[in-house]
Amino acid sequence: MNHPISQEICCDVLVIGTEGTGARVALEACEQGADVIAVTKGFLGRSGATLTADGEIDIDSRSAKTIFGVAGCPDDSPEEFAKDMIVEGDYLADQRLVAIHTQEAPQRVKELVEWGATIEGFIHAPGHRYPRGLWIPGLKLTRLLARRLVKSGVTILENTLVFELLHDSDGVVGAVALNLPTGNIFILRSRAVVLATGGAMRVFPLTTAPEELTGDGMAMALRCGAVLQDMEFPMFLPYCFLTPPALRGVIFPYDISALLEVHALNRHGERYMARWDPKRMERTTRDINSVAAAMEIRTGKGSHAGGTYLSFKHLPRNLIDFSTQWFPGNLQGWRAAGFRLRDFYPNIGEEAWEVAPASHFWNGGVSIDEHCATQVPGLFAAGEGTAGIHGANRLAGNALTMTQVWGKRAGYYAAKFAKKNKLRKPPKEQVEAALCKVGQLNQESSGPSVVEVRQEIRRISGDLIGIVREEKTLRDALSAIEDLRGQINRQHVTCSDPQFNREVSEGLQNENSLDVIDAVVRASLHRQESRGALYRLDYPETDNDRWLCNLALRRRECEWEIEEVPVKSIHLTLPSGKRQYGRRRENDHSS
């Protein structure tokens, strides 16, 4: 073994992830008096999903009006916001968690503003009955939190890839990490660990997510004995660019479709949403929009490049031109992230954009309670990659809210837990097994390269899982995953340079991604209905009598267990009966 442990570092609370959620976790744990180490595999303030968030952070409309003076509606309340989350999450959200989420959101945003954030606009996004999106661009938010974190007393380790959690029979005791600049492996020992690692969107070939989102936290939690829940609902965003190559996966500024009426067309020029949600059309939620687009593509009605069309052609020229003056923030001048759309499409409004659904968010993840505790003592989780807040579909603007509400809670409860918990010695055999993983990558030469493994994971996710699923392809996915499992401990790297070795990082991430897609396939196979972000061709109806439950997945040794857990309902009566997928809104808010 040429990878000795270089050092051991101890702390009270270890936070994995440093951006929207992780920063908030670390700040709160530090505030509670804990000695905190926060690690990120990227650079602080320059990685992770939060900085790519276009800009809204949701709170109820009334609080938005009262606290920030924006044009909110007094009829809204945290309770009404909670109802929308539950209904639009297709009733699978944990209503206890949703109530906390909407109650605490205003206070969390107020803090951000006190810390220097500026609210640049106020948006009414699809799926919400009231305007709730306070506009704070993700990039500004992450930089603000990073600056605060640096001054807080938290120890920050950048370019540090945590690749295994360490635990004994009493719970989690720390983690093993790879220092990317040197290739050194070291042990982080802690009284509590918080996962703030985000989703696994990079497993899909078309995604809006940054490089880091490979499902590390979910997979490590699973391997450590925690439960994953709602894994059948990876979320897709319907309007993402397919061409040219540089724009692949860049989001067509979603909020523009909230600000201007957009038409989604198939190759026949038909507004196909009329068949899915005739009342709300393109302004339905993103789960339904994505499923509809995927079905058009699947049935041969897609665009030239294999997507669908998005058109503003029905709008008068001067109206389109004027829009740039009142669009908030980055949308001014028709920008999409760091790109000027006019560079690629000079005549905005004249021609349709070619778009397709891209993997954007992870609705499910590690199962947590109100205190962000997982089933493993000492292991906490927050933000994207945890289950229960969004159910089967997330509302626009609610990801940033999640980072702050749940980040603070996780930090608070992890620090409390750490005070009562002792540092314990990591089990030797676990440390050795972790070292062995890295050793094998460098020694093996019989299996596929790590690049080939990553490509195969994306092929399985794109071709066999996708948005629209059915038993046959899911079974094919399962056997492809089994095949890959047989090869993954023989995957090898070709470059032996220890410094920033991309192959080594990818090799370790591949194992995580494979565990995650395995869970997605098993949960998708088990749920024989269509709901939220899951559409089953062979079970196209939403069946409230049979499937109002969350699927909880656990793995013991190599055996998966799936448990159907009834939805936790406290505020809103759950619906009954079967209905056609997509048309859930008619009477849903009457209860």
Partner: protein, 127 residues
């Protein structure tokens, strides 16, 4: 933007490899379509030609700035800069080069307590 697919053309890309003390130039032949980014070219080289090439990227959409490089002398983001013929791609700052195109970024986190010590220890172990 016309949606008619143009035939990919093959370009020669010259990349500075090595560290701040010693470096050399390596040429790669890369097929590109219209509207391919410099980052797309680097990813192609890593995926198909040389798994050992070092480069940084995160968001890939022009926000995080972790993919800063110098293309024909000009510092740019690799993700939002379009690839063209005869490119020389170098680290954005020679003095900050770690390996190939990977460079130290402004060390925001190093201001934090203990952080610099731990990072320093790691490097000492290396030597």
């Amino acid at each position: 933007m016309t949606t008619v697919r143009e035939k990919p053309q093959t370009i020669t890309v010259r990349i500075r490899r090595g560290d701040r003390e010693k470096s050399h130039l390596v040429d790669y032949e890369v097929p590109i379509e219209k509207g391919q980014s410099v980052l797309g070219v680097l990813q192609y080289i890593y995926d198909h030609l040389d798994h050992g090439i070092g480069f940084s990227a995160s968001c890939r959409i022009g926000l995080c700035a972790s993919c800063l490089v110098r293309v024909n002398g000009k510092v740019v983001r690799a993700c939002t800069t379009m690839a063209e013929k005869d490119m020389l791609i170098e680290p954005y700052k020679d003095a900050a080069t770690i390996r190939d195109l990977i460079t130290e970024l402004p060390p925001l986190a190093r201001e934090a307590k203990r952080t610099a010590d731990i990072q320093g220890n790691m490097q000492d172990m290396e030597r």
